[in-house]
Amino acid sequence: MNIDQLLLQSLQLLGLGMGSVFIILCLLIIIIQVIAKLVPEVESPTASAPLPTSAPANTQHIAAIQSAIHQYRRNRQTKS
């Protein structure tokens, strides 16, 4: 490929590349705005905490188990 072709191709890439970047980022802008409009309807101030309650299941379990272990050990110590 000679230098003229390369230069032409790189100019094309400039156009295609900047076009792609703008199209994708503009699309994201629109999507973010749509999400922002939809989300507040779903999310009331108090409803913003539904995830924490159901989510950290594992740590809750662990906490529950640990407290049970502690209780069990305390009982043992009181006894012995």
Binding site: I3, L6, L7, Q9, S10, L11, L13, L14, L16, G17, M18, S20, V21, F22, I23, I24, L25, C26, L27, L28, I29, I31, I32, Q33, I35, A36, V39, P40, V42, E43, S48, L51, P52, A55, P56
Partner: protein, 377 residues
Amino acid sequence: MEQGLLDLWASTGIANFTLGQVIMIIIGGGLIYLAIAKGFEPLLLIPIGFGGVLANIPVADIAGPEGLLGILYHSGIESGVFPLLIFMGVGAMTDFGPLLARPSLMILGAAAQFGIFFTLFGAIAMNLIPGMEFTMADAAAIAIIGGADGPTAIYVASRLAPDLLGAIAVAAYSYMALVPIIQPPIMKLLTTEEERKTKMTQLRHVSKLEKIIFPLALLLVTLLLLPSAAPLVGMLCFGNLLKESGVVDRLSNTAQNELINIVTIFLGLAVGSKLAADKFLSVETIGILLLGMVAFSIGTAAGLLMGKLMYRLSGGTVNPLIGAAGVSAVPMAARVANKIGLQANPQNFLLMHAMGPNVAGVIGSAVAAGVLLAIVG
């Protein structure tokens, strides 16, 4: 005994050094000096510089296929694993909140990618200079320096032009460290005092749910339109989802601490393995350093000019300085915008406003990388 002494002498470095290796060891030492004494991106430039020194030790062949650096390069960079894991960690550390609060500023992060594509053209044009010979793949790998994002640059270079990887990575991190020196003159040249004084209104509150949905939406757009950017963008989104989901904090913490630290050490050393004298000491490296500087400057200028346009269109509510943060170089570029803004108006805190374009620049250059990989790769 004489034979033993001769063998031992024949195995010394002194008896085996080439001039190129000596120069490269000095360059490696220079990078370490800049990293420690001048604070140039030390997290990367200390490992890269040290790796460069190790790679140029004669006899030991540490950067060879059976040496430590060679093994790290082969398994982590040739495969693409290390930059993708770094990107996951970056995702887990990034707060897209400022971007979501005012998404229109994302356009600044798009404009700044002009530096990449202009440099691609410039690299091809450099072939007119005798001695320079850049293929389209080389040019694309060099151009990505303009993305001002280390892992993206390393990922693209490892795919398109592994021989140039050392110079490209060094240029990318060096210029990211130099952002406080490169950007201010351009910012002052292209903006008026009036523009720089512009204060911006406070950002709106962004809900947790929006932050959870965003990485998924970003991934969706990428996989629909530009799947070649999906590895990079996907790992960024994955890391960010780990963080924002709020239910896997132990994974998120590991991704943004131990895991990214381990991979950073390995990545730096492995990049250093590409500072071997025969690859690095060439006229092409000078071209790469020049083009990298051009890429940064043009990217900054493009971001600023788009900032000026938004200043006009928005009736003077957007400070054009934050356009310069669109090149990424997170969070350095946002800090520079903040600093120049404060010089013009001591009440003018632009940092949070600049973070939006700043992280948009990360997305923008990952998208640009996808385009280059799709068409050139």
